[in-house]
Amino acid sequence: MKLMSPKAFYYTVGKKNFFQYILFGIFVLFFYLPLMNLCMLAFADKYEVPAIIPQKFGFRWWEFVLGQGSLLSSIATSFVLAAIVTAVSLLICIPAAYALARYNFKGKRVFLLSFLLSNAYPRMGLYISIGILFYRLNLMGTFVGVIIIHVLNSMMFMTWIPSGAFRGVYRQQEESARDAGAGPFRTFFRITLPLAMPGIAVASVFTFLGSLEEAQGTLLVGFPQVKTMPVELYGVIMEYPLTAGPVLSLILIIPTVLILFLMRKYINADNLSQGYGMK
């Protein structure tokens, strides 16, 4: 097996590629080992530390998790919430993103920076001050309150990335449409929006997934009336044996993987870097 010796491999793929392979290998280890461990534990009926392999495999905890009405309803809540949050966020942020991409106005830089600021501070502080506001507005423990929190979290992605996508649409392409007889709105919906769609799709995916896994804000503003999947996960981890958590985690991963797989065409470094003006 001369081919498999490290030295032979090194000279086969070249120096640069060799180190890339090694780096990739390390990445895979760091990324997939915990995931594999998670998969293993999810299908364990009995598991006690410090063993590595569970003592008994089975579907006991799947039955338990899926048998809990509250858990199932939390999954439904999470998806409905994520869909609404994405829609609301799109409605608010797409016009803003277009304005940022196409027009120059006073305070544009400050406006852009303000999105960053809300992400620069510890979230907890922000949520607590929002919480005080929500008490006055009777939004505590309501679905609307949670939506507002999630939309706030999504705003940076939802303006920056689509704004970059809009900037990538050539002005001549819009002007040609005007020239051909399309008004400003038709031009936007027939030309600009479809051309910026990859960036908008990426941002929407992030918003949807971000909303699915958001726990801090939901816990603070919505609990106990509004319970989403990650909020339930906290409870499960604390109350039940170690093996119930992995089951719920896997359920949480499924939509993420599914959406990322479906949108794989759009999700690439180009669409992302464009949003941050790095190109």
């Binding site: 001549q172 392409q173 002007e175």
Partner: protein, 325 residues
């Protein structure tokens, strides 16, 4: 026969915040005429074209198309169609969809759109490309489609903003020839913008030479070449020698209007041959005269064969232009 004025620009002014722009623009374009705006980059030629298309508001004056003011109309309401230098087509639509876009907005019936699109593609020699996406076409093909799309809108005035300058030289010459053919075939009114004087001379009925936001001269290609109104036009169009005199004024002469004779001739400018370059069927001879000034001349091969480097020669000018300081 009185020709019909299709496009009239009167006393037009457009200034940008930084002070650039165009002013005092007066141009009449007749029906079926091919008028080119020519000038160096930043001279304001594109600015004028964009005001015609409705992409820029004007500060003063008026723009009339078919006798009606269009200055307050948005681009979609103007009877103009524009072709830009690049990125004309919508990459998410097929060639057919690109061409049909404007017709659909005009609510043209489906079967009519189909035949119109076919007609448009035939006009630019692109039959059979309906199902292709712009990304599958070469730069020249994309510009053909863009021209076809503009023509299908049946504009009163077709506006072309350096449509060929992103193409390589060979394709450019071919497109130029085809544009000329289409223009004559359809007898459409065209306003063309370019910084390439050869392109302007080849295509236009009349040329508007612009510099720094002003019109320097309007005339037919031969008028502009044979009688340049200003020093700028003289230097910008074709090759021109300038001989500066003591008082700062200058005499200009085209290289082909210079005759060379060996030796000194009474009353003629004399100098030494500096370089001899064979450029095919004619020869470029540069002669250094008084005050280290160099005169470029084009002479026939048989004349040039008798000349050598550093020969003493005399120059006579068949035609000169005078420009003051």
């Amino acid at each position: 026969m009185e020709r019909k004025v299709k496009l009239q620009i009167t006393g037009m002014e457009k200034k940008y915040k930084n002070g650039d722009g165009v002013e005092n623009i007066n141009i009449d374009v007749y029906e079926g005429e091919f008028v080119t705006m020519l000038g160096p980059s930043g001279c304001g030629k594109s600015t004028i074209l964009r005001t015609l298309g409705g992409f820029l508001d004007i500060d003063k004056g008026d723009i009339l198309i078919d006798g009606e003011s269009v200055k307050d109309l948005p681009p979609e309401k103007r009877p103009t169609a524009m072709v830009f230098q690049s990125y004309n087509l919508w990459p998410h639509m097929t060639v057919y969809e690109n061409l049909a876009f404007g017709l659909e907005i005009k609510k043209v019936p489906k079967n009519e759109i189909k035949s119109e699109v076919e007609r448009g593609l035939k006009l630019v020699n692109m039959t059979g490309y309906e199902k292709k996406y712009p990304g599958q076409l070469s730069g020249g093909q994309q510009q053909r489609i863009a021209i076809a799309r503009a023509l299908l809108l049946k504009p009163s005035v077709l506006l072309l903003d350096e449509p060929f300058s992103a193409l390589d030289a060979k394709i450019r010459a071919q497109m130029r020839e085809e544009l000329k053919r289409i223009q004559e075939e359809l007898n459409i009114t065209v306003v063309f913008v370019t910084h390439d004087q050869e392109e302007a001379m080849a295509l236009s009925h009349r040329i508007v030479v612009m510099n720094k936001g002003f019109i320097e001269q309007i005339g037919t290609p031969t008028e502009i070449y044979d009688h340049p109104a200003t020093r700028f036009v003289a230097s910008f169009i074709g090759e021109m020698n300038f001989l500066t005199k003591q008082d700062g004024s200058s005499v200009a002469v085209r290289p082909e209007d210079v005759t060379i004779t060996r030796g000194e001739v009474q009353g003629q400018l004399s100098g030494d041959v500096r370089t001899i370059m064979v450029l095919g069927h004619f020869v470029e001879v540069n002669v250094e005269v008084e005050n280290r000034q160099v005169i470029k001349t084009y002479v026939a091969r048989n004349v040039a064969d008798q000349l050598h480097m550093k020969d003493r020669v005399s120059l006579s000018f068949a035609k000169t232009f005078q420009y003051c300081a």
